[in-house]
């Protein structure tokens, strides 16, 4: 048992004898350091003030109710150990912001220094204390992405046959518990409240990645063209850090972008064009020529087959004041710098090697998803265990789904019925390095450009 001070951002819209607006209140709680911040809040509610409002139910990071900010980090209160939150708070001031170390790194202020700061989630209106209005934000955005399976309307008699990996893949997004922590943490949404946001876009991937959904291209087109869609994500990783379930919403957004690119969707936000231009420049030059990027990503294909969009022209015009200032200050060396081709090249044959890498990677386009494959070292069993190949738990007699396999443990079952251990679920091996091959739209565009 240890004592902690929790400092809670409160708001009581109709409380008696409390300030009208938001205010801070500290509670002293006493509990084991391995218990959670939620346990601390519930103790404060049970012992001191029953009006302290916080949504909670399962206490085990399954129901998604208790999204809050702890020391400024969006998370679940039930998943944050109070001892750890206390250590973190001790490196901070009382407002959940970092003040910096004392002098040397590693030096903590004495125990009991700063309170653990608990606030309602961000990017959503506060209803009371730690309870926010998810309906008008989170759920509204969720509904924006047509969050249900669009099938061909004619279910087969049995199940649809799909790749096992495809189901594991979308299990990552199905694992989302809709807690809103990622929405709370989203830095794009802070600047653009209309951004569809990490949770809803992860949900969108759940369908885009689902081979049973038949409107993949329509979904991608919709999300790419929306100025608040997939290209409005600022790639800050806040959602990845906030997510308590490993959904990694930003990774899903990047996969949506990749999929939209595969579908040759030229969005009016220039997202795809920017990506192509960037990739092309590195192929040509090895390092980034920002001036060329600026021009290419706005106006790729001028003189070629692609016409720049109206928005692209506006974008390029908007970037001109900045460019001119850059030239004046000496940041950009000259006006010609805005014209491609002046950038320095890699020495010797280095550029050729870079180009060879391009050829190799574009031939294979392997996508390694660690959610599906896991990390090798972690997956390797401790010594003495059976090799993975013999790992299935199925006993031959009772297997129903097929696949041979022996049950190394049968001798331990004490003469029992082998059927008790049967399963036809053959563990999915790490995804093969898939050779997809095939011509890609970007290659096409590159070639055309080079021919020109």
């Amino acid at each position: 048992m240890a004592e902690y001070t929790i400092k809670v951002r409160r708001y009581q819209p109709d409380g008696e004898d409390v300030p009208r607006g938001p205010y801070w209140q500290e509670f002293e709680v006493e509990l084991d350091p391995t218990l959670s911040v939620l346990d601390g809040l519930l103790q404060a509610r049970d012992r001191d003030d029953g009006s302290l409002a916080v949504r909670c139910s399962c206490r085990a990071a399954i129901c998604g109710s208790c999204g809050v900010k702890v020391n400024g980090q969006s998370t679940l209160a039930c998943l944050t150990q109070i001892g750890e939150a206390h250590e973190r708070a001790n490196r901070m001031n009382g407002n959940g912001e970092v003040t910096g170390g004392d002098s040397e790194q590693g030096e903590l202020s004495p125990a009991g220094g700063n309170p653990i700061v608990i606030e309602p989630m961000g990017n959503m209106p506060v209803l009371k204390d730690l309870v926010v209005d998810m309906e008008s934000t989170h759920w509204e955005k969720m509904r924006r992405v047509t969050p249900w399976l669009l099938d061909d309307g004619d279910p087969p008699e049995r199940e649809r046959i799909v790749e096992p990996e495809a189901m594991v893949d979308i299990t990552q997004t199905i694992a989302c518990i809709q807690c809103g922590a990622c929405v709370s943490a989203c830095l794009s949404m802070e600047a653009d409240p209309d951004f569809i946001g990490p949770a809803a876009l992860a949900k969108a991937y759940r369908f885009v990645g689902d081979p049973r959904d038949v409107e993949t291209r329509e979904r991608l087109y919709d999300l790419a063209q929306d100025p608040h869609g997939i290209y409005d994500c600022t790639h800050c990783f806040s959602c990845v850090d906030a997510c308590p379930k490993g959904v990694a919403p930003m990774d899903q957004i990047m996969r949506l972008r990749r999929a939209a690119g595969e579908e040759k969707i030229n969005d009016r936000n220039n997202g795809h064009r920017h990506e192509i231009a960037f990739t092309k420049i590195i192929r040509k030059k090895g390092t980034l020529d920002e001036a060329e990027l600026l021009q290419e990503s706005y106006a790729a294909g001028v003189g070629g087959k692609l016409k720049p969009s109206k928005r692209a022209i506006v974008g390029l015009a908007q970037s001109m004041p900045t460019a001119v200032r850059g030239i004046k200050s000496g940041k950009m060396r000259s006006i010609p710098k805005l014209i491609p081709g002046v950038h320095h090249k890699l020495p010797g044959d280095a550029q050729e090697h870079v180009q060879r890498i391009y050829e190799h990677a574009e031939e294979h386009k392997t996508e390694l998803n660690l959610y599906i494959t896991g990390e090798e070292e972690i997956l390797e069993n401790a010594q003495g265990d059976e090799p993975p190949e013999a790992a299935e738990t199925g006993a031959p007699d009772d297997r129903m789904g097929g696949g041979a396999g022996s049950l190394p443990r049968t001798d331990l079952v004490g003469g029992g019925a082998p059927g008790t251990q049967a399963t036809d679920g053959v563990p999915t091996d790490r995804t093969e390095l898939v050779d997809e091959g095939g011509a890609r739209p970007t290659d096409q565009a590159d070639r055309e450009d080079e021919e020109r």
Binding site: R47, G50, W148, D151, A391, G414, Q421, D424, V426
Partner: protein, 566 residues
């Protein structure tokens, strides 16, 4: 100020799997449907069902085999007509879910794959990693969003009581909008209770804080009988301190149970099925090991998942890796984790027929709130999701059909006013006039866990009953701090406490009444099963201050009771 009452043909209370399935099924019949939940639907406790859902869908399996396993698991207290229906309809339901988009695990051929589960003679458990309940519930919620024109959702509304007419027919319910405190009388031709179990009556429990037996108590209060209330499942693998669940899927994947001496002790209790005997058997075995000094000093035994290949853990048991890491500080892929039996499931509940209809006209129940009874004395793992879906759908369809035949009823006068007065009375209680809600709740949980758990005897149950009756009195005057209207969780907590003590009283009375050992009820003073005397259900209806005991027959179709060994 006159207002249009929220009115529906079918009003579903509770939005977990049973409720959502019922609402979708009723809406498919073209009637007007409302679904109410005190939490956002995706917060419902169906989320916590990790391991999977049973169905005899594989070639070589049969519904009869599934039914027999279920009946044997129930220790022959399950009603066989209902079990037959559940097991026959299971395959179709799994396929329906697959078609809606549940990403069930596939085998190498891309077909639905299964895992082994306790008490089953075949591997017939379909699953999504170890988040099966969550995956299914989120997919059903996708369907609710899709069908939002057909199903009106009332999210974060709390039901305080069921409304009846002069003829004691259920004609609606009184709700409090949690966001603004507004009380409303909802009228409905039929009400389907799908509000879940009452695990919070015990502490610790695997159940969420919302599982306070609201529906069980509300139905009981208007005279619907409760059945099998003594049958409380203790799950064999829960974390010692917080009571969190480690899925039976872990043992399905091959994990071992070990005592402190490192022995696979299940050899002594269930030499054939070992760790995959039915839950009551495994929990008793563990408790015996612990009681006889072969457990660990923290009152636990160990679950060794390290024998499961890591790749398989990564794929199939991700969630419990997190549970171990985050809530016990244990890397389950590298070391055994300490577990013990913990409160998990209420086999009993509101007595219904095979269509979910209760003794009160217009009132249906499905899921854990209900007792059909398909689980009897002990529920098999991965049968609870199935129960919610099959009987949720059947209740929805039946209620919709009934709605087409009848007119709206008229709630008794003063129904809404009575509830508004009740809430005002709670809010108005003076500090110091009684105990804190949280204190009473804690004492209740600890009492039930001590005396009405894996092993019971008359003295213990009697002690518990006396305490519960005192707590019931105290609950009536427990005070609250919050006087506001917006998100007043304090006042809801006081109302929930009232539901909980009613449930607790019924469980004590039924456990005291059943003088034999069957399924989850093990009486050390009556250690044998007694089919002569006790192959029957205990039904409870309110009579004055407490429950009145009656009996009803167990429906047997083709399976005669036999000795039960695993």
């Amino acid at each position: 100020m006159p207002r249009a009452l929220p009115t529906h043909d079918v009003l579903v209370i509770g939005a977990g799997l049973a409720g959502q399935r019922a609402a979708l099924a009723a809406a498919a019949q073209g009637v007007s449907v409302g679904i109410v939940s005190k939490v956002h639907p995706v917060r419902s406790h169906s989320n916590a069902a990790q391991g999977g859902i049973n169905a005899a869908l594989n070639p070589g399996d049969s519904w009869e085999s599934h039914a027999f396993d279920t009946i044997k698991g129930s220790d022959y207290l399950g009603d066989q007509d209902a079990i037959e229906i559940m097991c026959r309809e299971a395959p179709e339901e799994i396929l329906h879910l697959e078609h809606l988009g549940v990403p069930f695990h596939r085998n190498e051929e891309g077909k639905l794959g299964t895992r082994a589960f306790g008490g089953a003679s075949q591997a017939r458990t379909y699953y999504v990693a170890d988040i099966t309940g969550q995956a299914i519930m989120h997919v059903l919620y996708e369907q609710l969003m899709k069908h939002s024109a057909d199903v009106e959702r009332y999210e974060e509304w709390f039901c305080t009581s069921l409304a009846i007419d002069e003829g004691n027919r259920c004609v609606g319910a009184v709700m409090r909008n949690i966001r603004n405190g507004q009380m409303e009388l909802f009228t409905a031709k039929n009400v389907i209770l799908a509000s879940g179990g009452n695990g919070q009556v015990w502490s610790p429990t695997t159940n969420a804080l919302i599982c306070t037996g609201d529906g069980i108590a509300m139905a009981y209060r208007i005279g619907a009988a409760l059945m099998d209330m003594e049958m409380i499942q203790y799950h064999p693998t829960t974390l010692a301190k917080k009571g969190f669940l480690i899925t039976e899927g872990a043992r399905g994947e091959g994990a071992h149970l070990l005592n402190a001496k490192g022995e696979r002790f299940m050899e002594r209790y269930a030499p054939n099925k070992m760790e995959l005997a039915s839950r009551d058997v495994v929990s008793r075995a563990e408790q015996t090991e612990i009681n006889e000094g072969r457990g660990f000093p923290d009152g636990t035994v160990a679950l060794d998942i390290t024998v499961v290949p890591r790749k398989r853990i990564h794929e199939a048991l991700r969630e419990i890796v997190l549970v171990g890491r985050d809530f016990a500080g244990v890397d389950i892929t590298r070391e055994p984790i300490h577990i013990k039996p913990g409160n998990h499931y209420t086999m009993g509940g509101v007595k219904t027929d095979i269509n979910g209809a209760t003794a009160v006209a217009g009132l249906y129940a499905a899921g854990e709130v209900a007792c059909v009874s398909v689980h009897g004395g002990n529920r098999l793992g991965a049968n609870s999701l199935l129960d919610t879906l099959i009987f949720g759908r059947r209740a929805g369809e039946h209620a919709a059909a009934r709605a087409k035949r009848i007119e709206h009823g008229r709630p008794s006068n003063q129904t809404l006013e009575r509830e508004e007065r009740m809430v005002s009375e709670v809010v108005g209680r003076q500090h110091g006039s009684g105990r804190r809600v949280s204190e009473i709740r804690r004492e209740l949980g600890e009492t039930m866990d001590r005396h009405v758990s894996v092993f019971r005897d008359e003295e213990g149950i009697q002690t518990a009953l006396e305490i519960v009756r005192r707590l019931k009195e105290e609950a009536a005057s427990a005070y609250v701090d919050d006087r506001g209207a917006v998100f007043n969780q304090d006042v809801l907590g006081a109302i929930e406490l009232g539901f909980m003590v009613d449930c607790a009283e019924c469980s004590c009375v039924a456990a005291l009444e059943r003088k034999e050992s069957r399924g989850a009820q093990f009486r050390t003073d009556f250690p044998q099963r007694d089919d002569e005397e006790w192959l029957k259900h205990i039904d409870l209806v309110p009579n004055g201050g407490g429950p009145e005991v009656a009996y009803s027959e167990v429906t047997l179709t083709k399976w005669e009771p036999q000795e039960r060994t695993y």
